[in-house]
Symmetry: C2
Subunit: 182 residues, 2 copies
């Protein structure tokens, strides 16, 4: 549903073909969606079948043909329906990475710390890629989606470093000489 919204939205005012679309999704929107190649092609075909887009075949010289898609007026209406629904609703975000945190006490805090430090590194890398793209106080100039992503990455970093501090304290306390029995 949201994937349809995305593709339809991209196709509005950008008549393009599957290959180019896949390329764009992988190179520019990887932070937003993870759409595999066959899924994208299948989605285009489904949109066509349902009358939301039409398809015309192009070819340049002897290169493979291109199936170029255009949004129909039904597709236009459908797009706005999906868009309004998407903007209106709040859907719980899902953090698959959070599930491990639920069981963090199953590991000795030293190991947990080491593992989460690895995670932190990866997160910092991600931030280095995306933070520069969103100058602070950019208003609507910088795309708000990017801003949204960066804001959450930063929240994640804050939370993660604070959790790491707690863990370090946990094993620092344990390693103190025990004067009284527990």
């Amino acid at each position: 549903m949201n994937r349809e919204l995305l593709i339809l939205g991209l196709l509005r005012g950008w008549d393009t073909h599957g290959y180019q679309l896949v390329d764009f999704l992988e190179k520019r929107l990887a932070y937003l969606v993870d759409l595999k190649k066959p899924t994208t092609y299948a989605l285009l075909e489904r949109l066509r079948r349902d009358g939301h887009v039409t398809m015309t075949v192009e070819r340049e010289g002897n290169r493979p043909e291109r199936r170029v898609y255009q949004v129909t007026s039904e597709g236009e209406a459908y797009f706005f329906r999906l868009l309004r629904e998407n903007l209106r609703s709040f859907a719980r975000p899902r953090f698959p990475n959070a599930i491990g945190i639920y069981f963090i006490q199953a590991l000795p805090s030293e190991e947990a710390e080491a593992l989460l430090n690895e995670r932190l590194s990866a997160l910092e890398e991600e931030l280095q890629e995306f933070e520069p793209k969103v100058p602070a106080h950019a208003g609507l100039a910088a795309e708000p989606v990017l801003q949204h992503y960066v804001v959450h990455l930063q929240a994640e970093r804050t939370w993660l470093t604070s959790l790491l501090r707690t863990l370090v304290e946990a094993h620092r306390q344990r390693s103190l000489p025990t004067e009284a029995a527990e």
Copy 2:
């Protein structure tokens, strides 16, 4: 994979049956995962088939039988493998709600504002449910997963209200008397 981690982790030290597990997932972990009933049952069966858990049948009086699961030592090992992997890695979080934001300019800013205000209300409700469960500076006492969720809800609220401000400014400017041609 992460769902297996979750179920296996819950089953460690809590021998329980499908019905009770489903109940717990729905009532207490709805913010963390969305696991439907048949999926959960199927997952339990798969874990059993793969030797990660064993199953024993119980029954009280004339009530329907209960299939109670216990984690095996292979399951134990598998759990730790999954847990380490989950803690170590950073996976991009996905925000299906963000896709609409990408196309926000397709709507007049007044309408976008109205829609996003609806979203904000839903978000505030969610916060009212979860914020009280996580007193600030709770360390490892409050479950860190809950803390994680709340942190992101708060980040979302901050971002959303700032976006709304920008939108309001956008149409306030437009409604000013135009002195010069554009």
